[in-house]
């Protein structure tokens, strides 16, 4: 494996010397996410898929370290064999997806509001830098304040600062019991309900609101996770119709992997909002994360949508862009001061601009 890594380092050194751009790739399942890819031939692939394998896994330490090219599915199967899981429930887009792509994209799934973001679980990384060196940040321990938290900076960075080659994650036990109930509620009532649960000590681990065919009403699915007593008491308080385990698993998998029919629509916006934000009055829409994540389909005016969302304290990402005007940036524009820090970080970490140009912002 170290031979594979030294080849990758070599490729970076060569690309930098030749001023040639590199596009980092694992399983190639997340290339849709982010800014436009350069035209064919304008950049070379830096393919991490050959650099794979779990380096260490200590279930009793709640830590797993794996090379970036390791398939996410392989990691989750290994964790499941020990009764553990990735708490942030990352989406899988087919079997080829890798850990590196998962961490670089930063996307989390249904459990995000209860468990935390992907970056919350990143303990350490090894980064292939623009100099062709491998740098190690963080480590395999949960508490570590030696140096800046560069590992978490890299989580969700879409490869603009360098290539992740290895990641250590905190993993968690699978809950002893999960149960899902479904309540018939319209959009605003569902949002109100989720907000009320937020300040209650309930083991809600996921919510999803899907409109019904008429668009007037809808169904709010609520998943509870915890030990027997906690889930039983939660179900009593929340009420609704109990969904059998098989149907529930299928439903949440559809949310996690975005295979639910809703996600076939394009263009598709991924909007995040603070808790308590009202219904936007736009459709078709699907909510997760207690209303903090709203998927909005259809050709909405990008500028108007972003102004509206920003005024509510959120941001809007053009998640799947088919059918949207080509000049709409994928990610919500940054404030000037924040963009300035982004520019300087890019300049410091990748002065020649070889890594994943324009994938996060056109300026990087």
């Amino acid at each position: 494996m170290e031979f594979v890594l030294s080849e990758l380092c070599e490729q970076v050194v060569t690309a930098r010397a030749a001023q040639r751009q590199l596009l980092i790739r694992g399983g190639g399942t997340r290339l849709f996410y982010g800014g436009p890819l350069p035209p064919e031939g304008a950049a070379s692939w830096l393919d991490l898929s050959a650099y794979h394998g779990v380096v260490s896994y200590e279930p009793s330490e709640l830590v797993l370290t794996a090379r970036a090219g390791t398939p996410l599915a392989e990691i989750e199967t290994l964790l499941a064999s020990q009764g553990q899981m990735l708490a942030f429930e990352p989406p899988r887009f087919g079997t080829a997806g890798t850990l590196g792509g998962c961490v670089a994209s930063g996307l989390a799934g249904p459990r995000r509001m209860a468990a935390g973001s992907l970056a919350d679980f990143v303990l350490g990384t090894r980064l292939l830098s623009a100099d062709g060196n491998v740098l190690r940040f963080g480590g395999e321990v949960m508490k570590n304040v030696a140096g800046y938290d560069v590992s978490r900076l890299l989580a969700g960075s879409l490869g603009v600062l360098g290539a992740l080659v290895e990641v250590s994650l905190k993993v968690v036990p699978r809950p002893r019991r999960e149960a899902t109930c479904v309540l018939a509620l319209d959009e605003s009532s569902a949002l109100d309900q989720c907000l009320r649960w937020r300040s209650r000590p309930l083991p809600v681990s996921a919510t999803a609101w899907v409109a019904d065919a008429s668009g007037a009403g809808g169904k709010l699915s609520v998943r509870l996770s915890g030990n027997e007593s906690a889930v039983r008491q939660g179900l009593e308080e929340i009420g609704g119709e109990h969904l059998d385990d098989e149907a529930a698993d299928a439903f949440w998998l559809g949310m996690r992997d975005q295979t639910h029919a809703f996600f076939r629509q394009q263009p598709l916006w991924r909007i995040v909002l603070p808790a308590g934000a009202p219904a936007l009055g736009l459709a078709p829409v699907l909510h997760e994360w207690g209303g903090c994540l709203r998927w909005l389909a259809g050709p909405h005016d990008a500028a108007a949508l972003r102004d509206r969302v920003q005024s509510l304290g959120g941001s809007a990402c053009l998640y799947r862009r088919d059918g949207a005007p080509a000049d709409v940036p994928a990610f919500h524009p940054l404030a000037d001061g924040v963009l300035q820090i982004h520019r300087r970080l890019k300049q410091e970490f990748d002065p020649a601009g070889i890594f994943n140009a324009h994938r996060l912002y056109p300026e990087l």
Binding site: E58, S117, L135, K143, G147, P173, R198, S199, G226, V338
Partner: protein, 498 residues
């Protein structure tokens, strides 16, 4: 003791103090600017009192506009800045710069908004950690990270150090509980990192900023996540005939899929040190005592406690006691929380180390530390955040005895080296500051340290924010410095800390 900096580093920046003072006089009231030695003396050190440096100027802004004016003036007149919260830090992060200004943010101590519905609070950096939970309590909510100095430490300081606490295995560190910070840059610009909505766009600057020890910007507002307070908490206290078996107990709990609210281990010496001090009822025969807390609804807690008790028995616990009241729970915790003050009572001096190790190496590391006791001729007691591997060896010594300081320093250095060797880190929660800047050279390569410098420059291109901390220069990488407490000569000795 000499402040841990070489003359070269100290004179790298040439500030224009008269220009700076004239500039800030326009925007900052005179009573907020301290220049007389008797006024600035108070600020000569933080919780690590061994490092002292009297600052030439201390400014105590009363609002964000004044912070902006001060930082602009620092930028224009090349004046180094040392931010300061409550001054309870243990790594010298707020030790003044000999030619810099200390900016104390304690006056920005208002809770600006507390929304019980959305479970967030927006607070000034000078608000005390515990004050947030107190304000949230009427709504059944609290702020989870609970460093032991929480009655005194400020949320701004918690952001700077990424503070933890005994409940962080389940509830996370500061980095997991802060949603947004409002920052003034060295150029006097406002930037907001993160937000109340999840997954702010762009690079993850918020979590990079947290734990950056005041070197990237000054915080003027912090938005924190509040969580519902569990209805009940109970703690199991278990005695073990060996440290290894106590470690095995921890392993079994985690392997069973339980994440306890708190999980703390003390070795025999620590138990013998604290028991006479607090009378917590610890088993003096035990080689190790494990505290395991469960929280939630009464049924949930009963279910979990029953499993924990069974698992600890299987691991070889010789005595189990479970708290039956809140009063008893606090009593069980009291010994653990007072380990540092107790050390100060039985020994003239102690060094507190703060390494983190993968827990599977606990037995090996403690055995090695016991071996070092003989090697260095000094005693060491150990308290351990068992859930997350954060080890606090307390090296007991007497600075009045010839060469004990040197031996204690060498002992401490050997422990930190060991932590790095077994795959751990030199600091789990106290920060690098000035104290562990030399050990950074053990843990990181030059290229990695350069990457930290790169992050620093992206936020502070001029190197004016808290210079000389956290990132060692090449020249420094041969030296050592450790926390050294003489005769309880620690700031706020009554505050529990670890």
């Amino acid at each position: 003791m000499d402040i841990a900096s070489s003359p070269d580093e100290r004179h790298a920046i040439v500030p224009d103090f008269p220009g700076f003072l004239a500039r800030i006089a326009r925007d900052v009231p005179a009573h907020c600017i301290l220049t007389r030695p008797e006024q600035t003396r108070v600020y000569e050190c933080d919780g690590l009192s061994l490092y002292r440096e009297q600052p030439p100027v201390v400014v105590l802004p009363e609002n964000e506009a004044q912070v902006i004016a001060i930082l602009k003036a620092c930028h224009e007149h090349n004046v180094p800045v040392v931010p300061r919260g409550a001054g309870t830090g243990l790594s010298g992060g707020a030790t003044p710069h000999p030619q810099g200004v200390v900016i104390g943010l304690a006056k920005l101590n208002r809770i600006l908004r507390l929304d019980p519905e959305t479970c967030v609070a927006v607070v000034g950096p000078g608000v005390r950690n515990l004050a947030i939970s107190e304000a949230a309590a009427p709504h059944g909510l609290y702020y989870a990270p609970d460093p032991s100095s929480q009655i005194a430490c400020s949320i701004g300081g918690n952001v700077a150090e990424n503070s933890g606490g005994v409940h962080c295995l389940k509830y996370g560190l500061t980095v997991h509980n802060v949603l947004r910070v409002r920052v003034v840059t060295i150029e006097g610009e406002i930037v907001e990192l993160g937000g109340e909505a999840p997954d702010a766009p762009g690079l993850n600057l918020l979590q990079t900023f947290i734990g950056s020890e005041g070197m990237l910007g000054l915080v003027t507002e912090v938005t924190v996540r509040l969580i519902p307070r569990p209805q009940l908490a109970r703690v199991v206290m278990a005695s073990f005939p060996s440290v290894e078996q106590a470690g095995e107990g921890v392993t079994r709990i985690i392997a069973d899929g339980i994440i306890p609210a708190g999980l703390e281990l003390m070795d025999k010496r620590a138990v013998h040190m604290v028991e006479p001090f607090v009378g917590a009822g610890y088993d003096l025969q035990a080689e190790a005592i494990l505290l395991c807390e469960s929280d939630g609804t009464p049924d949930e807690v009963s279910e979990e406690i029953a499993r924990v008790e069974a698992l600890l028995r299987e691991a070889g616990a010789t005595r189990l006691q479970t708290s039956s009241s809140e009063e008893e729970r606090l009593k069980f915790w009291a010994g653990r929380k007072n380990a540092f003050p107790a050390a100060g009572r039985i020994s003239p001096d102690y060094y507190c180390m703060d390494g983190t190790i993968p827990r599977r190496h606990l037995g090996k590391v403690l055995a090695a530390i016991a071996g070092m006791e003989t090697q260095f001729g000094l005693r060491c007691s150990n308290v351990f955040h068992a859930g997350d591997g954060n080890l606090h060896p307390l090296i007991l010594f007497d600075a009045n005895q010839p060469d004990e300081v040197e031996r204690a320093e060498a002992f401490g250095a050997a422990i930190l080296e060991l932590c790095v060797q077994v795959g751990g880190t030199i600091t789990g929660e106290h920060g690098v500051g000035l104290e562990k800047i030399n050990q950074m050279c053990s843990q990181f390569t030059r290229d990695e340290l350069d990457a930290f410098s790169a992050v620093k420059r992206a936020f502070d291109p001029y190197g004016l924010l808290n210079p000389l901390k956290l990132i060692p220069t090449l020249v420094r990488c041969a030296e050592y410095g450790k926390m050294h407490v003489h005769q309880g000569d620690i700031r706020f000795p009554d505050i529990p800390r670890f």
